[in-house]
Structure formats: C-alpha cells, structure tokens
C-alpha cells in the first residue's frame, strides 16, 4: 500500500477551521443573545455615573468639551466601549482558541494534521474577523437605537481606522493565544489585559485626566490610538489627514506586534513539543 498524500495549503486549513468554528458557534445559541445585550449594558453604568456627576447644570459639559473637543459624552464613551468590547471578544475567543482546543482534547488531533500549525490560529483569526465585521455594525445600530449614538464624520474613515487597527489587535491576540497555551490559564490573563486597556486607554475619559506616568504607559498600547482616531472621526468629523499620525503609529504597532505574535507562537510550539505539555490540561 503506497498512497501519496498532498500537503494541504494554509488557506485550505484556514477555511476548514473557519467552517468548523462557525458550526460549533451556532450550536451554542445563548452566547449570541448575551453578545447582543452586553454592549448595551456595559456603557449604562458609565453614562449614569456621568449624569450623577454633571447634574442638571450643563456647565460640567463645558469642562468635558474643553478636554475632549465634544460635549456629546455618550458617543465619546460609546466609542471607547466598542473598542474595549472588540478587544475583549478577541481575548476571549481568538486569544483562548488554542486553550479551548486543549480543554476540548482536540489540540493534538489538529497538531497531527500535515499543515503548518499557525494555520489553526489563522483560521481562528479569520472566523473572528468576519464575526467582528458583522458584530461591530450591529453594536453601532444598537447604540443608535438605545443611546442616540451620533455619527458626525465619515463611516468609511471610521472603518479605515478599524482596518488599520486589525494587525495590532490580532498581534496582541497571537501573543495572548501563545501564552495561554503555555501557562494553561486564561481567565486571570484576560482580566489583567482588558483591565489594563480599560484604565490606560481612556475608554470613558480623556487621557488628559490621567497622571503623567499613566499617560506615558498609554502611549505603548495601540488601542489608545484607535480610540483617539475613532473619536476624532466620529465626534469631530476630521479628515484622513488629521489622523495620519495615528494611522501610521497603528501600522507600526501592527507590524511589531504581529512579528512578536508569530515569534511567541513558534517559541511556544517548540516549548510544548519539547516538554510534552501540548495536550495537557
């Protein structure tokens, strides 16, 4: 018996992972309902806190507008929470994908397939990106209906900001996925990373209110630039020329973080193959 098997391409494997994850996702329909409700609930606490602080007097909004360039505090906060929710969903789904396979007991089965192992992670990222493309407009629509979300600038320019954020966001996801496969504990790491983003990136407040050292830290987190650029586009209606430095910085972050992500994946792969911990819980 001599059969010759062709090696599948990375794209075939990515497509297979995408299709598989799509089917599995729709066999747990309740998570989709929570994904629709969560973006509405999350900003409510911030909006009511803002209302309690500003009271009926609009003078506090003047101070807010001086710091942020807009008095539309709801839209301002919603933009931050969209970016935070996106990052949060990537950490939970894409970032924990290899760990989920490990817990399911299927990681070794996938490792036994004659494909570059990175294609598994790329397949997950494809699923996640397509999910985000559908999910983010749904959130924006929900915001429009519930919070009267006000879009001043060009939606296409906002989309461009999201697109140039993808390499940096997924770079973080690659690093995260590799680390989680290694340390085998996802929850505490998700809470730590999303907590850092929540505090340092100005999700609900301008960075100007932060102490100097915190502002310096925020410069090293790409989400800060995505939020700044999106706020400038959506609330102030700026042109592409006004946010070119943010776009440039996001692309640099993307290149660096994707490279670090791939290196982290390769290192983790070698390490678990040497220690024999690939299939371990």
């Amino acid at each position: 018996m001599e059969t010759t098997i062709k090696k599948p391409s990375v794209f075939t494997a990515m497509g297979a992972v995408f299709k598989k994850e799509f089917k599995i996702a729709f066999r747990y329909p309740t998570w989709f309902i929570s994904m629709l409700i969560w973006p509405i609930l999350l900003p409510l606490g911030y909006v009511f806190t803002a209302k309690a602080l500003s009271g009926t007097d609009t003078s506090s909004l003047v101070s807010f507008a001086t710091l942020t360039g807009t008095s539309d505090y709801k839209t301002y906060m919603l933009i931050g929470t969209v970016m935070w929710s996106w990052m949060n969903s990537i950490l939970w789904s894409f970032g924990t994908s290899l760990r989920v396979e490990q817990v399911r007991g299927t990681l070794e089965s996938n490792w036994l397939c004659p494909v570059p192992k990175i294609s598994l992670l790329l397949g997950y990222s494809l699923f996640d990106m397509i999910f985000s493309i559908i999910y983010i407009p749904i959130i924006v629509l929900e915001f429009k209906l519930v919070y009267n979300f006000h879009f001043v600038g060009s939606p296409l320019l906002a989309l461009l900001v999201l697109l140039v954020s993808i390499p940096a966001v997924y770079g973080i996801g690659f690093i995260f996925a590799s680390l989680v496969m290694w340390v085998k504990e996802a929850n505490s790491m998700v809470f730590l990373v999303r907590g850092m983003i929540m505090v340092f990136c100005g999700i609900t407040y301008p960075l100007a209110v932060l102490p100097n050292w915190m502002r310096n830290v925020s410069k090293f987190i790409p989400i800060t630039y995505s939020i700044n650029a999106l706020r400038a586009v959506i609330t102030e209606g700026v042109s592409v020329g006004d946010i070119k430095s943010e776009i440039f910085i996001l692309l640099i972050f993307g290149a660096v973080l994707m490279t670090l992500g791939l290196l982290a994946f390769n290192y983790t792969q070698k390490r678990v193959k040497s220690s024999g911990s690939l299939g371990q819980y």
Binding site: M1, I5, P8, K20, T106, P114, P116, S275, G276, L278
Partner: protein
C-alpha cells in the same frame, strides 16, 4: 513487502522534573531532576505488519508514540517514517501517518460524525466531492452511517472510538498508529474494532499498536516489542516469545489465604522466578501464579511451603505460557499493574 515503515534509532526522551517547594514563599529550589522516559531504544516496524508495543503504565509507550507522530521532540536519536525524518520534516512525515491517541476526546463532540470527518479531511488537503465520498465510505465501513448526522456527544464510547479511527483513516495513510484503541470498550465493540484493524492490515497498511490487553496483542500482532522503564526488553513474534519461555513452567495455585510471609517463603525456594497474586471476588480465593525454571523439582517445595504456612490449596494446575506470562517473566509484573 520490502523495507521499513518506521525506523527508530537510539531514541531517547528526557523530561526535566522541577522539585516543588512546600510553600510558595520559600526561596525557589533551583534543583531539577532528569527523568528518562525513553532510554536509547532501537526497533524497526516492517511495512504491512502489525507491530504490538507493550509495556506497563509509565513504561514509555505513549512517549514513544508521541515522538513518532511528531507531537513530542526527542532528546536524541532519530525516527524515520516512510523515509522521512520526523524531526527534520514533520509535516511530510505526517502525510504518511494516521493516529488514534488514547482517550476518547480527540474529535469535536459538538460536530456530527460526518462534520468531524469532513473537517479532518480538509486538514489533510481533501475537500469537496472527494472529501464527501471518503467520508461516506468510512461512515458506512465503520457502521456509523445511520447516526452520521448526530453530534458526537450523543454517541456511545465505541462509536466515538470508531469516529476517531475514521478520522485517522480519512487521508488513507500508509501507517496507522493506535494507542490503546479498545480501551474502555465493551467486549462486543472491542471485538468489532479488532476485526476492523485486521481488515486495515489486509489492505497493506502498517499498524503500530499499543494495548493493555495481552490476548489482543497476541491475536493481532505479527511482532511484539516489550518496553519497560524506557528500554525495549524483548522484541519478537508472539510465538517465539512464548517458545523462549517454554523452559519455564507456569504454576497456578488457588488458595484460601495469602500473606506477605508466604510470599517471602515461596520466593526463597530455588528456581522460583516470579510470583504474582490477585484476589478473586467471585470465589473469595487468592489466585497465585508462579513462574519456575525447574518444574518437577520445585512443585513439591512449593506445595510444602504453602501448606506448612497453614494455607489450604484449593486448586493446582501447570499451564502453557501465554503472552501475559512472557510479560510477567520479563518485567516481574502484570501488564495492568
């Protein structure tokens, strides 16, 4: 059939075992111990044969299987699978191998049997009509076709194991690696799976099999390698292994009692090689198996020692050696210990 499907040369795997501190706040203990799981083993698996790989728990079976199937990197030595070095060219080596690892959670329980096979077909580069045809064929062959569109979580353990086998066969590999394939199955499902394994062999595929069941290894294997403490301690056909033991007599005793003192007393008798015992819940008696190298002279000593210890002999018989006896003779313990 010429040539080797698997060639293992001087294969060694060491693991570093960190010594844990009793309390996390104490100064870190930097000491590391080296545990040798596989100790410079050599063997070849001929093309088209079923090679049984036996050993007690922790002997190095699964570590060896994981190194052959590229999941684990050897510390030293080489593994050649169908001419491909698994360390230097793992992806090419994997195109020759289908693997069923121990345990039933190797497929997606939230997917149907059919979806699982189509997924793993795509992960082997088989898509579209060809994937559907292969999936249909394997589902029918492994008698999964009637429930092919139900999620795997609803399958019995035997069905889950057949899905795992179908997954390993989806790309028609030359070599099939099966790690304890019948473990946890009821006797009927285990018998069906053994028949399928023999059919796969008839197709000309090479099968590397580990099992806890001696009768299974005896029935299926063309050759058997026995590993203990990371070393290969015997490698031959089942018949030759048993023939080599012929000079040894196997004496089975059924006793109403059994103590450590009697064991020590029996072990002192010259020509006694191994003694194993187990309690039979049904008869409420102890079954003791004694390997002796000089049957006729030892029997009387054995009986005298037992009776003088106040133990009643309920049954006594001398048997032909089985593969289990070969194993006990070589390792000093039963396979399932």
């Amino acid at each position: 059939m010429l040539g080797y499907a698997i060639e293992v040369n001087d294969l060694r795997k060491e693991f570093q075992v960190k010594k844990k501190n009793e309390h996390f706040w104490k100064k870190k203990n930097k000491e590391k111990e080296i545990f040798v799981a596989v100790d410079n083993i050599n063997f070849d698996v001929k093309k088209g044969e079923i090679f049984g790989f036996l050993g007690p728990n922790g002997a190095g079976k699964t570590t060896t299987i994981k190194m052959i199937s590229t999941l684990l990197r050897p510390t030293s030595g080489t593994i050649i699978v169908n001419g491909e070095n698994v360390v230097e060219n793992p992806i090419k080596a994997l195109t020759n191998i289908g693997t069923v690892l121990a345990g039933e959670r190797s497929t997606y329980w939230k997917l149907t049997g059919r979806e699982n096979l189509e997924y793993f077909a795509a992960m082997h580069g088989i898509t579209g009509k060809k994937a559907r045809e292969k999936t249909d064929y394997l589902l029918k062959r492994l008698e999964l076709d009637k429930r092919a569109d139900e999620t795997v979580e609803k399958y019995s353990t035997g069905m889950k194991q057949r899905v795992a086998l179908a997954k390993a066969l989806i790309a028609e590999p030359n070599i099939l690696i099966l790690d304890e394939p019948t473990s946890g199955l009821d006797p009927q499902s285990a018998r069906n799976l053994r028949e399928i394994i023999l059919e796969i062999k008839e197709e000309g595929r090479t099968i590397f099999l580990t099992t806890h069941y001696m009768e299974e290894a005896d029935q299926l294997s063309d050759r058997i390698g026995i590993i203990d403490h990371g070393k290969i301690i015997a490698l031959d056909t089942p018949q030759n292994l048993k023939n080599n033991l012929n000079k040894t007599n196997i004496i089975n005793l059924e006793l109403d009692n059994w103590t450590e003192d009697v064991l020590e007393k029996i072990k002192e008798i010259p020509a006694i090689e191994n003694v194993t015992s187990k309690f039979n819940e049904n008869t409420q008696n102890f079954e003791v198996k004694v390997h002796v190298s000089n049957g006729s002279e030892t029997v009387s000593n054995l009986i005298t020692s037992t009776i003088s210890s106040g133990i009643k002999i309920i049954n006594f018989r001398v048997e032909e050696p089985t593969l289990e006896d070969v194993f006990i003779n070589l390792t000093g313990k039963s396979l399932r210990e």
